[in-house]
Structure formats: C-alpha cells, structure tokens
Point group: C2
C-alpha cells in the first residue's frame, strides 16, 4: 500500500503552515520501502507529552522486536549504547522551511531535528539496560508510545562520538 500513502503524506495538514514555513510538492513515487521490525513502548501517549530531546528524560522504554528478527540480537547484549532508528509516522514530509513552536524563527528542515522531514527517520542514542528475549529495556528515547522501529545498531564511540561538535544557530537558544 506504499504508493497510495504518498499523496496522503503530501496533503496531511496541507495549508496549516506557520509564518515563514514553506511546503514543496514531494515526488510522485517512493524510491524504496521500509519494514517495521518492531515497536517502541514509551510512557508518552500524545506528541505534546514527549520530551523535547532524549536526554531530557530518565524514563525507561521497551523496544519490542518482531519475532522473525530476534536472532539478530546475538552479541548486542555486550554493548553499552544502542543507535535506535525509528519512523515518526505522524509527521508531514513536505516542509523545507519550518518554525517549531519552541524556536523564534523558521529554519531549514535539515538544520533541525524536528520529526517533519522528507524521510521521518529518527536517530537516537539509548543506553541499553538489558535484553530479555525479543524485548530491550533502554533509557534515552523521547518518542510517542507504539512508534515503529526500523533498526538497531551498536554505538561505536570511535566513529559516532564527536564531543566538541557545535551547532552555531543553536548557541544561546533553547533546544
């Protein structure tokens, strides 16, 4: 049913733009397809209840992997942190300039971590507490309950950690 949702995604919220926001016409077709490989269980039932970023909460979340993929967890129990990729399926996908309510001016989609983006894939680094069968207990996610899971990867400090990285526009603002 993938093609049919293209038009729906483009039209979702159509016309509901904040000042300074710009929507474009997305492509007519998708180029590749994703499997939902599980679900993320969190304490937050509505988007407005979610923390603004993953370090704002100590809440424990549970990642439930679909049974067919469970053998893929072998070895993951030895990592301290997991890169969690998930699909923000409630977000529109057609904005290039956007004005999140907690910032004062519109910015480009690719300069923001907003869920609103052409491919709404979130990347979060979560601390792994334990794995029981198909369930991972983690700390450090900020998504809505029942969010579709796309991938899990080991976090390698050697390639993924850049402690002195900076975001110029963000200096002095609240994220």
């Amino acid at each position: 049913m993938v093609e049919h949702s293209t038009a729906k995604a483009a039209q979702k919220d159509a016309g509901e733009l904040r000042e300074g926001e710009i929507a474009i016409n997305p492509p007519a077709q998708f180029d590749a397809g994703l499997y939902y490989i599980g679900r993320i269980r969190t304490p937050w039932q509505r988007r407005e209840d979610c923390p603004k970023n993953p370090r704002e909460t100590d809440a424990t979340c549970t990642i439930e992997l679909e049974a067919r993929w469970v053998d893929g967890l072998a070895g993951l129990e030895s990592v301290s942190h997991v890169v969690v990729l998930y699909w923000m399926d409630q977000a529109r996908r057609d904005l290039v300039l956007q004005a999140p309510h907690h910032y004062t001016e519109p910015r480009g989609t690719f300069a923001l971590r907003s869920p609103v983006r052409p491919n709404p894939i979130a990347v979060s680094v979560a601390r792994l507490v334990r794995i029981d069968g198909n369930k991972l207990t983690v700390v450090g996610l900020d998504c809505i309950d029942d969010t579709p899971l796309l991938d899990l990867k080991p976090y390698f400090a050697s390639t993924d950690s850049v402690p002195d990285a900076s975001v110029g526009w963000h200096a002095g603002t609240k994220r």
Copy 2:
C-alpha cells in the same frame, strides 16, 4: 514500484550464505516508503574499495541534494558536523546472523554496522567543510559513489555524543 522489489530483495544472493549465517523470510510487504533526496559522490566505485569505517579515510565527499529540497539547508551552514543517513541499496535484507569477512565468527545483524540489515539505512557523522548551493562538501563518509541520500541532520554533542560507550564483543577485535 515499491512492492515489486520486496521479493527481489529477499531473493538477492539467495543461497550464498557463509558458514553460520542465517537468512529469514522477510515480510511480504513494505510498511512505509522512502524518497531518495539526493546522491553522495565519493571516490569509491566498488564496495570492496570502500573504507571499512568513516574514520579510516580523510577523503572529501560531495553530497548533492535534489533541487526541490535545497531550501531545507538554511541554517545548516552553522554546524560543524552533520548526521548523514543514506540507503545501502546493494545490500541484501534477510540475514539475522551474519559473518562479515573481516571478523572470525557470526554475530547478530543488530550487533553489527554491516550494510546487510532489514532496513539498510546507514548513519554516519561527517565533518561539514562547506555548502555551495545544493552541494555539501564533507569529510567522514565511507560509502560507494552515487549512494542514495535519505536525510541530513545537525549533530548535537549534547544528545549524540557518548565518548565512553563500549562494544564488548568488539574489544580486542579489529573492526
């Protein structure tokens, strides 16, 4: 044409398993669709020429964003590092246990950064050198030339950097 590629992805390389590898039957349908929003130009034309990880090379790569998304770059020029999401479209998607040739034993797909995974989305942290129109010059990618781009995000050290993260199984091995 997204549905048709499901079967193809599942059958690609079918039967060519290394010792200890396990393939499963992937779902019959995709759950969501992706847009390719640009292409990544790199010096590497074949998979075997690519560096094994992004910190193994100082090569400069160019990310070419499709024209329709260019306004989304506004503000990104102020960041030092970009999270680059791309689609490893040459990888099979049905392995849960795999034995990459540079490791000695098979491990679960989710314990590895191998391109072979149910949703072959790569996450790399690249240093941003400059932006000219729709082109970003970056250092720190390791993918094959012409790789499809999925997303760009600002790298926030506050949420993305975990310098003391560890990968137990990897200690003492070469990545």
